[in-house]
Symmetry: C2
Subunit: 349 residues, 2 copies
DNA sequence: TTGTATGCGTTATCAT
DNA sequence: ATGATAACGCATACAA
């Protein structure tokens, strides 16, 4: 075993060190340091470093001298100081209602990566599937943010009640009158698309399976409307089992009558559908031969199950780019938009 | 359709607004505002709000007056100003090498939630499975951070080269001499545990399956040593197929000879193992009857596949608490610790 | 072309 | 018991 190595295991923990007192207070490089080193004023340095120097006739060589020294010393501007001066902090807060949901953690990954590439930092505030109130977000209010982006549905509108100095985006369903810029999946269109597809597959009888919450009900209702308009026979089952995966599995294991199966099981979330697939596999009910299954969200594992899951993809890049566009344009007018979710046909249907 | 609703779809986007110019510059509540409202000095307000008032004989009623007005006005301290004054920003940076890997996104969720509960904000910097260099992390250096926590293995030690003013934690394998506090899974112990278990199951022949990278090789070597010490016959296969899931699936589909199967397929990551399970399911090779499978990490979906996956759990809460403990104690001495990963026995082995 | 002075919100060190 | 003042790092209006 390496001499500097030890264990962490519940309470007991023992550690051998190579460096008893590392120095972390090693002074950060500031404009002042650069100015002193060069024998010029701080304001000159500031102007060069913020790019305002070139426009007001500072000689090329002065600019270069400052820039190269700054680079050599590894200068980085202090965002806290910039933000205090009223400049954009180029920092956004991202709030996630249920980080355990792979759809959301996936979304956060895309969002953060895109923001990062545009020079924004991301402050993450995630929860594990629980109601969020305004106090939960007060840490966010302590930072000077350019925007707050909320991932998840919530019609209470309470969470961001106190966030007034910053524009708020919501991805998901909210109170239609909440003060923010909303983006939500176009479930009516999705339902139409799926309806057409099911009809083309000869489906007659549809079983809807959803979680017992208003946003799932909304999604299920859209499906029901579209399916009934195509003369399909629709039943609906709601359950409050959690996690979603267990909901789907339990339904497949216990609520399905093998002697009278519907043609398709339409689930309001991928995880429900994957749970159902697992349950059906356990029972030996062949998918899609004896029963088709669909989901919603196109999470990473949707393509990994056997059989792989037919579902709707949420176009994260489009939504993210729309938000960044708004931020760049400083266009924070309230309103809501729907985005189209293409049907991804795989093996399960 | 709701009148305020429209579409986002590729380039085209149309939006109806209820509020043409929302006011976001609504002034933030500062100590100054409270002081003026109460007709006292800013310093008094500051002392009350930072808790130093009680100790120096400020009357109870004054304290109460300030506190209640602060609360009524919704005052929150400005972290930027506090940080500028040299106070802890109670903000940490979290760097993730591969956010697409569900193990890491899971870890981030736990980490962030725990930090949040301790009053820390989390700045997330995640990447999609690529080498990270010091420039990638320079946005982090612009913030005043209490610590940087790096998730993922990397022996180059280059990523946090420039982060000198902040303690760095790494979860995963790094250069043994890098300047940080490292936590890594105890793979030797895990290998011993698995070896014992396999022997108890009557296993004779082991096939190791790993990704072609040094940290997987390290893990596989630990397994090989432990297995060979128990007189098991061990073969090893490395592949550079990505993503991991496809690596496992491709191996199961194409490299396994159905007429001469090993007893167990030991994979260095859950996703590889799940891919293998899927491939075996496609080929109709029964698990664990004809071939056992194990993974590493215990990602969420490990328990969801059919059959569910036997694997090692990484004790995230322990590691996270150890880090937070260090932060609270301001104990940033370099060194590395291993943490024990219990074997989670499920259906696949 | 460059330097001086001021202020952002907060805390800390003085006074009073 | 409380108020004035300086300082953190930066940007900028104003001087020179």
């Amino acid at each position: 075993m390496h001499p500097r190595t030890s264990w962490v295991d519940r309470a007991s923990s023992l550690l051998l060190f190579s460096n008893p007192k590392p120095e972390f207070q090693e002074m950060r490089i500031t404009q002042k340091a650069i100015a002193e080193e060069l024998g010029v004023s701080i304001s000159l340095v500031s102007r060069v470093l913020s790019g305002t120097a070139a426009g007001i006739g500072v000689p090329e060589e002065t600019i270069h001298a400052v820039q190269s020294l700054a680079k050599r010393l590894g200068y980085v501007p202090n965002r806290a100081a910039q933000a205090l001066k009223g400049k954009s902090s180029r920092t956004v807060g991202v709030v996630v209602y249920d980080f355990k949901d792979p759809f959301f953690s996936d979304f956060v990954g895309h969002l953060q990566e895109r923001l990062h590439s545009q020079g924004y930092s991301t402050i993450l505030v995630g929860f594990s599937d629980r109601q969020i109130d305004n106090r939960d977000l007060s840490p966010l209010r302590q930072h000077l943010l350019d925007a707050v982006i909320i991932l998840g549905s919530d019609r209470s509108g309470d969470a961001h009640r106190d966030i007034r100095s910053t524009p708020v985006f919501r991805i998901g369903h909210g109170d239609p009158d909440e003060s923010c810029i909303g983006y939500s999946p176009d479930e009516d269109q999705a339902a139409e698309d799926l309806g057409d597809y099911l009809v083309s597959k000869g489906v007659r009888e549809v079983q809807l399976l959803r979680y017992a919450m208003w946003n799932h009900e909304k999604r299920a209702s859209a499906m029901r409307r579209a399916f009934e308009a195509r003369s399909l026979q629709v039943s609906e089952h709601a359950s409050s089992v959690k996690p979603y995966f267990e909901l789907g599995r339990a339904y497949a294991l216990r609520s399905l009558d093998e002697n009278h199966l519907p043609d398709v099981l339409v689930c309001t979330a991928d995880q429900i559908a994957l749970g159902a697939l697992r349950g059906l596999l356990e029972r030996g009910i062949e998918v899609p031969k004896r029963l088709k299954v669909t989901g919603f969200d196109d999470i990473q594992f949707a393509r990994c199950f056997f059989p792989s899951l037919t579902t709707f993809s949420q176009p994260m890049p489009n939504v993210i780019d729309a938000i960044i566009q708004r931020m760049n344009d400083q266009d924070f007018r309230h309103g809501s938009q729907k985005f189209r979710c293409p049907l991804i046909v795989r093996e399960s249907c």
